[in-house]
Amino acid sequence: MNQSSFSVESAAGSRSRFAGFRLLVPGLLWTIVFCLLPMIVVLAVSFATRGTYGGVVWEFSLDNYRDLLHPLYGRIFGQSLLMAGMTTGLCLALGFPLAYYIARLPPRRQALWLVLIMIPFWTNFLVRTYAWIFILRTEGLLNTVLIQLHLISTPLDLLYSNQAVLLGLAYGYLPFMVLPLYAAIERVDPALIEAARDLYADRWSLFRRVLLPLTKPGMIAGCVLVFIPSLGAFLTPDLLGGARSMMVGNLIQHEYLVARDWPLGSALSLVLMLMVMGSLLWYFRAQAPQAGAGGGR
């Protein structure tokens, strides 16, 4: 009897495995058409040559990658990594207290705050970035107010600087940090926070010894969600940084649309992608052991 029931089970198992594969087909197709094929095209173009008047000449060459070794590109990549890293750090520093505050509110107030955080998404990103120009420029809102209050006598040079770009990026991607952090903090048992306080922990120890380890997955998710789009951003540095700051995103946009050098643009895109993948892999590997140890919960 045991045997027969076993064979029935295994038959059902193989059938469901086949059914499972058939269920995969739409997703697989979607991935191939919209993700893999364009990547293959970009990869192919990156090994091609630029025609005299733009366009792609299908002549295999490694020149595009050789060009990337020029220190100018290295500096732009370095600058972009630094900018994305600083944006991520700023978002984390601003996002954690906010997420903690929201997660400790009564449920109805939490919903209100989450909606408030998401409202900016209903507006076009370009428009919101333009709003920052109005705030930051020489005759802008901030300078006007500061002069009216007699805090400064001549307007500050705020716009078209790396600081303005940093501000714009942090503003744009803060919700991506707050939402996963909120989800992580909200799941922490309030009794654990009380237990830490009862056991003489001050605010800093509470954060470092209890909240930080328990919300690490949410922090990692938030950092990844902010770091990746910041690294490839081109709209914000273009509008708020002007000629003074160039990030990889701007460079790629320039190669494709202005210089009409698709092969070089493709090579740049691929290197950017490898950098993102590389930093993610490094990050996950570095976090893996602690994540395993915290699996008691």
């Binding site: 306080r197 010894r209 699996g295």
Partner: protein
């Protein structure tokens, strides 16, 4: 008073419109195992959270070792709380959990290690020191939570429903263990529970609470044998009651003329000072003080009521049943199973319920 551990003075706490704690004053002695017993919503958890510092009283004051706790945050109070859910840090091992409080107090590393070892020894968890909380049984988690509080040598350990999450057998074993550990360390324990048997078994003294007020404070035997009001009589143990008018009060004794049962003579009762003839009272008597005799007989020196057996259930160590007296009075009886497994009295049979006049307790109706 030098040996006073906790002095609560007229504490008031409002939750919205309801008075969670209504002018509670309690004095708890040093080294005492004190329980707050009551149904849910009685205000006992609010009281405990005010002691821990997680809630602020709306009025009144708490003194711990003579120091006012007004404005003192939880992390500066000489008390440690054992949470109902244990609230062990899931990302720390047993030893790390236990060491946490001392590390926060910046106790030197060598001393922390030594005290962690000694405390884990005390709760018999030395072999599990490197386990994570998720790998422990409920009873073990409970002991870690206790160790995490005890290691700090606080003035008071607060326990919130400490055994509620454990199953029946483990619960009794932990009662014995908890009591033994408390006696060994000599720290004041304040325990919140809704489980009356647990409160009686653990406590040196306890307070029974209802709707934010303390109904009675005393030793377990005071509360069980001499309840001052019907709430305590009913909440602590089973209460067999008969209502009536008090008569012939003289030298601490009197008789009760029942309203609902017709009797040839009154029920003899002890009467405490201050009660006078003519007032409406309830007499209550515990089931185990009642002798059940088949047939309708009368006892010479005993009070006696006649009734009919309505239900009988066998619970192993004894029989428990309900006897109807007159039209509407129902009493719970316990019949010992010491002699045989056979039913002591048949369903529907007439029985006499006899008890010593001194075992009745008279409570005035207000």
């Amino acid at each position: 008073m030098a040996d006073l551990s906790i002095d609560m003075r007229a504490l008031v706490k409002r939750h919205g419109a309801t008075l969670a704690v209504d002018h509670v004053s309690l004095k708890i002695r040093r080294g005492e195992f004190f329980s707050l017993l009551g149904p849910s919503g009685a205000g006992k958890t609010s009281l405990l959270r005010m002691l821990a510092g997680f809630e602020t009283p709306d009025a009144g004051d708490i003194l711990i070792d003579g120091q006012s706790m007004a404005g003192v945050p939880p992390n500066r109070r000489p008390v440690n709380l054992v949470f109902q859910s244990y609230a062990l840090f899931p990302h720390m091992s047993v030893a790390e959990n236990v060491a946490f409080g001392l590390q926060m107090k910046r106790v030197p590393r060598a001393e922390v290690a030594e005290r962690v070892g000694a405390t884990l020894e005390l709760v018999r968890l030395s072999e599990k020191r490197d386990r994570m909380p998720g790998q422990l049984s409920g009873g073990e988690q409970q002991r870690v939570a206790l160790a995490r509080a005890l290691i700090n040598r606080p003035a008071v350990v607060l326990l919130d429903e400490p055994l509620a999450a454990l199953d029946q057998q483990l619960r009794q074993q932990m009662q014995i263990e908890l009591k033994a550990i408390q006696a060994q360390v000599g720290i004041t324990f304040v325990c919140v529970t809704h489980h009356q048997e647990e409160a009686l078994a653990l406590s040196d003294r306890l307070a029974v609470m209802q709707q934010g007020r303390v109904m009675q404070v005393g030793r377990p035997e005071d509360l069980y044998e001499r309840p001052e009001n019907l709430f305590v009589a009913r909440f602590v143990g089973v209460s067999n009651e008969v209502r009536g008018t008090l008569a012939d009060v003289q030298a601490g004794e009197g008789s009760l003329l029942p309203n609902e049962v017709s009797l040839s003579r009154g029920i003899r009762v002890p009467v405490r000072a201050g009660l006078q003839s003519g007032i409406q009272v309830v007499m209550t008597v515990r089931p185990e003080r009642i002798r059940v005799i088949p047939g309708h007989v009368t006892g010479a020196d005993m009070n006696c009521l006649h009734g009919v057996v309505e239900t009988m259930r066998y619970i192993g160590s004894e029989w428990q049943g309900v006897v109807r007296i007159g039209e509407s009075v129902r009493w719970t009886i316990h019949a010992s199973n010491a002699t045989s497994g056979s039913r002591p009295v048949a369903l529907g049979a007439p029985v006499s319920l006899q008890w010593n006049p001194g075992d009745g307790v008279v409570i005035p109706l207000t």
